[in-house]
C-alpha cells in the first residue's frame, strides 16, 4: 500500500475506459451550455468533442452531442447527473462502435499549392464526400464529412501537399433505420 497521510481513502480499482457518445436535448436558454460543461469539469469528466445547435426553433430545443470517455460507472453517472439538470429534457447514450448508430464529423481544409497538387488533394478526399467550397489557382478550400479517425488520417496525408489550415466540428450522431433516440 502506498504511504499516505491524507484524510481520504486511497483510490480503488479503476474499471475499463469506454468511449461514449451522449446526446442531450436541452432548453436553449442562457447559461445552459455552461451548466453542461460545468457539470463535466466539476465532476472531473472528459469532453472530447462537443457539437451544439438549436434543432427546434419553436420550442427552443438544442441538441448537444458530447463525445466522452470513462469507466462504465462514470458514464452512468454522467447520464444520471445530466438528467438532473432542470433544462435537460432527455439524454441518450451510445457506446462508440455500436452498429446501428451513425456518426459524422465535418472538416474544412485549406491547402496551398500548384494545380497539380490541388488535383491530388481532391483525389485523396474523394471517399469522404468532398465539396470544394473555394478554389483559386494557388489554393483550395475543401469540405469533407467523415469519422474522426478518417479525418485525422486525411489531415496527416494532406500535410505534405500543403495543408495550412484545418477547421473541424465535434461529432454528431443519429440512429439508423426508423428508430429514434429516446
Amino acid at each position: 500500500m502506498t504511504k499516505s497521510k491524507s484524510a481520504y481513502s486511497v483510490p480503488g480499482k479503476i474499471g475499463k475506459i469506454e468511449r461514449h457518445i451522449i446526446v442531450v436535448w436541452v432548453d436553449n436558454e442562457a447559461g445552459v451550455l455552461a451548466r453542461i460543461a460545468g457539470l463535466f469539469s466539476g465532476r472531473g469528466y472528459n469532453i472530447e468533442s462537443l457539437a451544439v445547435a438549436e434543432v427546434d426553433k419553436k420550442k427552443h430545443i438544442s441538441r448537444i452531442t458530447i463525445v466522452t470517455e470513462g469507466t462504465p460507472q462514470v458514464i452512468e453517472q454522467i447520464n444520471l447527473q445530466l438528467k438532473k439538470l432542470v433544462p435537460v429534457h432527455k439524454v441518450a447514450d451510445f457506446k462508440r462502435g455500436e452498429k446501428d448508430i451513425l456518426f459524422r464529423e465535418l472538416a474544412m481544409f485549406k491547402v496551398l499549392g500548384s494545380s497539380k497538387k490541388l488535383e491530388k488533394v481532391k483525389k485523396i478526399c474523394k471517399k469522404f464526400n468532398p465539396v470544394v467550397l473555394d478554389k483559386t489557382n494557388k489554393s483550395i478550400v475543401i469540405q469533407v464529412t467523415a469519422l474522426r479517425a478518417e479525418i485525422d488520417k486525411l489531415a496527416l496525408d494532406l500535410k505534405s501537399l500543403g495543408l495550412i489550415s484545418t477547421s473541424r466540428t465535434g461529432a454528431v450522431a443519429m440512429t439508423k433505420g426508423s428508430r429514434i433516440f429516446n
Partner: protein, 588 residues
Amino acid sequence: MPKLLSGAEIVFRALEDQKVEYIFGYPGGAVLPIYDELKNHKSIKHILARHEQGAGHSAEGYARSSGKPGVLLVTSGPGATNAVTALTDAYMDSIPLVCISGQVPTHLIGTDAFQECDTTGITRPCTKHNWLVKDVNDLSRVLHLAFEVATTGRPGPVLVDIPKDIQFKKGKYKFFKNTLKKKLNGKITHKVSNSELDKFIDLIKKSSKPIFYTGGGVINSGPEASKYLRELVSLTGFPITSTLQGLGAYPGDDPQFLGMLGMHGTYEANNAMHDCDLMINIGARFDDRITGKVDEFSPGSKKIHVDIDPSSIGKNIKVDLAVVSDVTTLLKSLIKRFKEKNRNFVNSNKQKTSKWWEQIEKWREKKSLNFINSDKIIKPQHAVQRLYELTKNQDTFITTEVGQHQMWAAQHYKFNKPNRWMTSGGLGTMGYGLPAAIGVQIANPGKLVVDIAGEASVLMTMQEMSTAVQYRLPIKIFILNNEYMGMVRQWQELLHEKNYSESYTAALPDFVKLAESYGCVGIRAKTPNELDEKINEMIRVDRPVIFDCVVDKAENCFPMIPSGKPHNQMILGPEEEEEISDEGKVLV
C-alpha cells in the same frame, strides 16, 4: 387586465403565496427596492443577520427543524459571494433553500459595475438550479418554479438573481403551481412496483445477518418516514445504524439501535456493516466517511439502496437492488406488502438472526464510546453526556459546529425524534451551528436550542450572537473549549508526528466577557463538580447564553476508522495509539 405590480411587489406576492413567514437576509444597494417593499407585507418577518453566511445557515437551521424551505435575501456582489458557503452547505446536505439576490441593473451587467459579480455563474455548481431574471414578466413564474425545484425530489438550494431595474419595473403576477412536467431527481413519485417490493422482502427473509443503514433521506422525507422506519425495524427485529445526518429518525436509546456508523461510529455498528449479509440502505448515500476503502466495504453482503436521487445509486458502491423512491412512499408500501404475507415474522425469524445478535452483543461489550473520566478536569465526552442527561426530558434541538465536539455530540447525545439534530455533514462547515441555532429557535419558539460548539468554529460566525440578542432568541452556545482546532490537532498527533502546525489558537477572547458585551449571558465551567449546576443555570436562563466549558485539551475522539481501512479495523482508544503512530501514516 390584471393589475401591474413592481418586481419587488411580485417577490413578496410570491413569498406570500408560498406561505413564507420568515426571510433571513442583509440589505444592500442592489436589493433596496425589495427591502423598501417589506413594510407592506406584515405576514413576512425579516431576520437581519450580521453576515450573509450567517443568514444562510440560519435559513438552513430553520428549514431542517421545520421541514419548510428556508428563504434568504442578499444583495449583489459580496452579498451573494458571502452566501456561497451556506448554499454549498445546503447543497451537500440536501436542505431546501431559496436565495433571492439583488443584481446590478441589466444595462450594467457585464461592465464590472460596483458590487457586480457573476452570481449565477458562481452559484451554478452549488445550487440545484439558478436563474437570472431579465424580464419582470418572467419573475413570478421563476420564483414559484424556484420553490418547486428547492423542495421536490432531493431537496436543495436554488438562487434567483434579480437586477435592480427589474425590481422597479411593473409586470404581471400569476401563481404558478407544479410547473415541472418532467422528473427532477425522481421528483414525480416513482411508483414502486410489486415485483420490486417482493424482491426487497425476499432479501429480508433470506438474510441471517441483516442491518438497516439509514440516513438523512429519512429525515428529509418528513416525520412520517421516521414513523414507518420504526415500524419496519420492529417488524423485522433487525439491527439498525444511522449516518450522522440520519440521527433521530430512529430512537437513539432503543436496544435495536447500534449507534452511528462511519469514521467515528461505534464498534458494533461498523463491524456489523462489515460482516452483514444484507445491508438495507434507506436514504443514505455511501459517503466516503461511511464506506472507508470502497474495495473492502462490506464484502460479503447483498445491498439494497433506497434513494430519491437516481444519481446517488451506484455512484460509490454497486448494489443488488436499487429503488428510486421517496422514503415515506417506499416504506409505506413495503410495510403493507410485508405484513400481508409475513405475520409474526419477528418471532419466527428470531432463530435465524440469533447468532447475529449474539455477535453484535459481543461487539457491544467493547463499549467503544467509553472514555477515561476525570474528577479534576472536564472531559468533553462527559460534558456532552451531562448536557444530554439534563436536557433529555424536554424537547431539545441540537446544532453543532464542525470537529471533535460534533462527533462527541453525535456519539453521546441520544436523539429520539427527527428534525432535532442539525449539523453540517457533507460540507463540514465550521461556523454553521450558531447561526443554524438562530433559525431553529425562530422555527421552534419556546423550545430549548443548544449549539454544541468548539471555540475555533464558533468564532467564525460569532457575530450572529448580536442577531440572537436583537430577536430575543434564547439560544445556548455550549462551547467545548480546548483552545485547539481539536480535530486538526488529533490528526496532527496521530499522523503528522505531533507537529501541531497552526492548530492552537493563542489570544482567544474571554467568552464570558464576550457574552456580556453582546448583551447575553456568559457562564464558565472549569471543573466536573460544578458542571451540572452550571448547565442547569444555562437551561434556566431565558436569554441567549455563551457557555464556556473548559475541557481537557489533549482528548482525542475515538473510536475511529482510519481512512483507507475497512470497517473491522477500528482504533478504539488511546491505549491503541502506539499502533496508530506506526500504521497511521499508512492509512488515513
